[in-house]
C-alpha cells in the first residue's frame, strides 16, 4: 500500500511519520510529475488552505487529484485539507475539490488565542485527543454525510463515501487510531475492487 501526502505547504511530515510508523509507504506530492506514480490513498494535511489551493491549481495538480477523489480514492483531510474538500466555504467565493456536501467556516474559533486541545468521542474510534489550530468547523452537512464527532455542538469530523475530513489535527497527538482507521478504509476499498 502506498499513500500520497500533499506536500505543498503545511504539516505534512507529521502525517508521514504517523503513517510510516504504521508500516505504510508514503509519497510526497509537490508537483504534477509526482502524480504519475500509483497510490492507494491521499492525505490533505493542515497548513493554509489558500496557499495549498492556489499551488494545487497553478502546479496543474488540481484536476488530476479531483478526478481521483471523485472516483473514490480514499482521502484523510485535516484542517486546511477539510476546507479543500468542502462544497462551500463561508465568506469565500472560491471552493476547491467540492467533494463533500458541507459548508465550512474558516478560522471559526478566531485567531491563535482561540486554538485549543480537548478529548472527545469520535464515532467508530472512541475518545480521541483533538488539537484545533486556528481551526474551521462545519456549519451544515448534506444527507449523505456521516457526522463522526462534534465539540460544543459544532461538527468537527465527518465521513462521506471514502473521505474522512477532520477540523482537528490527529497528526499532532500521540494517537495512531485515526490513521489506522484511514488505512483500514483503504484496505476495505482494495478488497472490494
Amino acid at each position: 500500500m502506498k499513500v500520497a501526502v500533499l506536500a505543498l505547504q503545511g504539516a505534512f511530515i507529521e502525517h508521514i511519520h504517523k503513517l510510516e510508523s504504521l508500516g505504510v509507504e508514503c509519497l510526497e506530492l509537490r508537483k504534477k510529475e509526482d502524480l504519475d506514480q500509483q497510490f492507494n490513498g491521499l492525505v490533505l494535511p493542515g497548513g493554509e488552505s489558500t496557499v495549498q489551493g492556489k499551488l494545487l491549481k497553478e502546479l496543474d495538480m488540481f484536476d488530476i487529484l479531483k478526478e481521483k477523489i471523485e472516483h473514490g480514492l480514499p482521502v484523510l483531510a485535516t484542517c486546511a485539507g477539510l476546507i479543500l474538500l468542502a462544497k462551500e466555504i463561508e465568506n469565500q467565493a472560491e471552493n476547491y475539490f467540492n467533494s463533500i456536501d458541507m459548508v465550512v467556516k474558516r478560522n471559526a474559533y478566531g485567531r491563535q488565542l482561540g486554538s485549543f486541545r480537548t478529548i472527545e468521542e469520535m464515532k467508530h474510534i472512541g475518545q480521541v485527543p483533538m488539537t484545533f489550530i486556528r481551526a474551521p468547523y462545519i456549519d451544515q452537512v448534506g444527507d449523505d454525510v456521516e457526522v463522526l464527532a462534534t465539540v460544543d455542538q459544532k461538527i468537527i469530523a465527518v465521513k462521506s463515501k471514502n473521505q474522512l475530513a477532520l477540523a482537528f489535527h490527529p497528526e499532532l497527538d500521540d494517537d495512531l487510531r485515526i490513521h489506522q482507521y484511514f488505512i483500514d478504509m483503504i484496505e476495505k476499498r482494495n478488497v472490494h475492487k
Binding site: 505547504q9 503545511g10 504539516a11 497548513g47 493554509e48 469565500q92 474558516r106 491563535q112 488565542l113
Partner: protein, 291 residues
C-alpha cells in the same frame, strides 16, 4: 503561559512550515501577499530596507495599521515588538495578533533582557545567529525561531552563515556522549534539558525558518536546502520591480526547493530585484542586537 498553550503555539508554527511569511505595510500589500500564496504576513510600518534608510528609532507599528491588516486577510498576521519591550508585546497580545516577532529589526528597548515570553499566551518568534541564541530564546518562551540574517539588505550571506552555524552546532551536540551534554549546556549558556532535546532529536525543539536577506526564488530555495523549514521575506518583495510575480515565484520555489528546472522557470522575467547592500557597506548590523 501554560504548557498546553505553549504546545498549541509551537503547533501553529508547524502549520506554517513549507511556507513564506511576507512583510507588508498596508492592507493592500497584505492582500497581494495572500493572493500570491503567503502562509502568513508580518504587519509593520516600514520594511527593514526603509528602516535602514530612514535611521532613527524604529518602534512597534500603529495598532490601527495592524488591525487594518488583520481585517484584510484570512491568513495569520504577525507583528514586531522591540527586543525587551514587554509593553509593546502586551499591546500586540491585546490585539490578538497570531504571532509576535521580538525583532532585532526594530531598535532594542533593552540591552540586557529579552521579553519573558513565558508570561504571554500569544506565540513568539525570535531571531538567532547560532544554537545558543536559539535555545536561550526558547527557554524564554519562544515557540518558533528564525535565522537573523541581515534584514533589509537583500544579501543572503548572513542568513546562510547563521543557518550553517546552527546546523553545525546541532550536529556537534548530537555527536556528544550524554555525560558531555552538561558541559555543552554550560558553554551555550542554556538549560541542560534543551541541549538534551537537541541531542536526542538532532533538531531544535521548535520550527526554524530562514530570514534576513532573501530576495530571489533561488535565495529561498538555498535556505530550504540548507534545512530551513520555511522562509520570511521582508524587503525582498515590495522593494522589487514586480512584487506579485516575485512573491508567487518565491512561494513555489519554497515548495519545490529541490527542483532546479522549475526554479529556473520561476526566476525568469521577475523584473528588478531589490537593490542589495553588501555586508561591508552596512552601517548598522541588526543581527548583533539581542544575544
Amino acid at each position: 503561559m501554560t504548557n498546553k498553550r505553549y504546545d498549541l503555539n509551537k503547533q501553529l508554527a508547524q502549520m506554517l512550515k513549507g511556507g513564506v511569511i511576507m512583510d507588508v505595510t498596508t492592507p493592500e500589500q497584505a492582500r497581494i501577499a495572500e493572493e500570491a500564496g503567503a502562509c502568513a504576513v508580518m504587519a509593520l510600518e516600514r520594511i527593514p530596507a526603509d528602516i535602514r534608510a530612514a535611521g532613527g528609532v524604529a518602534r512597534m507599528s500603529d495598532p490601527k495599521m495592524i488591525q487594518g491588516i488583520q481585517e484584510a486577510v484570512s491568513i495569520p498576521v504577525m507583528a514586531k515588538c522591540r527586543i525587551g519591550h514587554f509593553v509593546e508585546a502586551q499591546i500586540l497580545q491585546a490585539l490578538e495578533i497570531d504571532y509576535i516577532d521580538e525583532s532585532e529589526v526594530l531598535s532594542p528597548a533593552d540591552n540586557v533582557y529579552h521579553v519573558n515570553k513565558n508570561e504571554f499566551d500569544v506565540p513568539f518568534v525570535c531571531g538567532a545567529k547560532d544554537l545558543g541564541e536559539a535555545l536561550r530564546r526558547i527557554n524564554e518562551g519562544a515557540s518558533m525561531i528564525r535565522t537573523k540574517g541581515e534584514p533589509g539588505t537583500g544579501d543572503i550571506v548572513q542568513a546562510v552563515r547563521h543557518m550553517r552555524m546552527m546546523n553545525k552546532q546541532i550536529a556537534e551536540i548530537s555527536a556528544l556522549r550524554k555525560d558531555e551534554l552538561y558541559e555543552a549546556a554550560k558553554k551555550l549558556q542554556v538549560p541542560y534539558e534543551l541541549v538534551e532535546y537537541v541531542h536526542d532529536h538532532k533538531k531544535l525543539p521548535v520550527v526554524n525558518f530562514a530570514a534576513g536577506g532573501v530576495a530571489t526564488p533561488a535565495d529561498a530555495a538555498l535556505m530550504m536546502q540548507l534545512g530551513a523549514e520555511g522562509v520570511f521575506v521582508g524587503s525582498g518583495i515590495f522593494k522589487s520591480g514586480n512584487p506579485k510575480k516575485r512573491a508567487e515565484a518565491i512561494v513555489k520555489a519554497v515548495t519545490n526547493y529541490q527542483d532546479a528546472k522549475m526554479i529556473a522557470e520561476l526566476s525568469k522575467d521577475l523584473g528588478e530585484a531589490m537593490v542589495g547592500i553588501n555586508e561591508q557597506e552596512i552601517e548598522i548590523l541588526m543581527a548583533e542586537r539581542g544575544k
